[in-house]
Symmetry: C2
Subunit: 182 residues, 2 copies
Amino acid sequence: METKTAPAKRTGGRSALVLGAVKRATEELIEEKGQERLTVPMIAERASVNPTSIYRRWGDLPSLINDIATYRLDPARPLPESGTLRGDLAGWAQEIVAHYRNPVNAALLRGGAAVAGDRESDCLRNRRAEATMFVERHPESELSADRVIDHLVAPIVYRAIFLPWTLDDDTANRLVTELFAS
Amino acid sequence: METKTAPAKRTGGRSALVLGAVKRATEELIEEKGQERLTVPMIAERASVNPTSIYRRWGDLPSLINDIATYRLDPARPLPESGTLRGDLAGWAQEIVAHYRNPVNAALLRGGAAVAGDRESDCLRNRRAEATMFVERHPESELSADRVIDHLVAPIVYRAIFLPWTLDDDTANRLVTELFAS
């Protein structure tokens, strides 16, 4: 039953523990069973939390998966600063390829894809912000962030979702070469 | 109960009716509720078939959605024959963009993405075969099918999944121009 009294002050400790346990459980289960077989009760059991805690925090499974999918490539991580746009984008693309060569990250991306379409996910917004930062750092180039997304991020994400076995050591450099040839 | 006697000869009529009803029900429910809220019993009820008929034919919901997602762009449809590779690819890309601007097709694509990763889907294999046919029809060009997939199909599919509101009348021509500038 809902009460309208002010909630007791919550420490971050308990909440952060629940968050960590739920994320770990979700990742493990995605790797073991695949994203499409996941259920909230299954995650709750593995994380040793009450299912209602999950529903209260995330609303439903798609929102939870979407949230998890956005948390892996830390937006605060250091980004390449090679001195050239091409070098920066090559380092950045290699990092994204390496990220999605991890099967858990690819599975989370597929989970994010399944629930996408209403608004830009945090994850993609972060990649777009990074692309914008790189092209603005090198105003001598005529590349736009949109072009970087279409010809560098999109093919990596497409392969990660649909053809993960084709993401190899050459993918990032080949795509950057093609981007700069245009 | 399972019997091991030879099955009575089945006419295609009943089977085709079930197939059509299930596909229609799946598409309607994806549009109404979103792919991630679908269940097999929900589809069975809408299609007026027994859930066991669905499980027998498709095994599970992801396989059903994957099958539905592959059936919309008829691989036997006529393809552009403009006389130039650029004209052919522009017409083809426009058709793919138009296909995914239909919200049901974009939702089915997201459903296909959710269950992808083990092998190339029929749908993507068909697009790859078409790209190969176009570049082989114009051996004077140095474009490879892989490059067409990475820089034309991938950005369209990426936008259809994650940024459907950005698929506009210019998308296909812009991407073809960028592909041929490279």
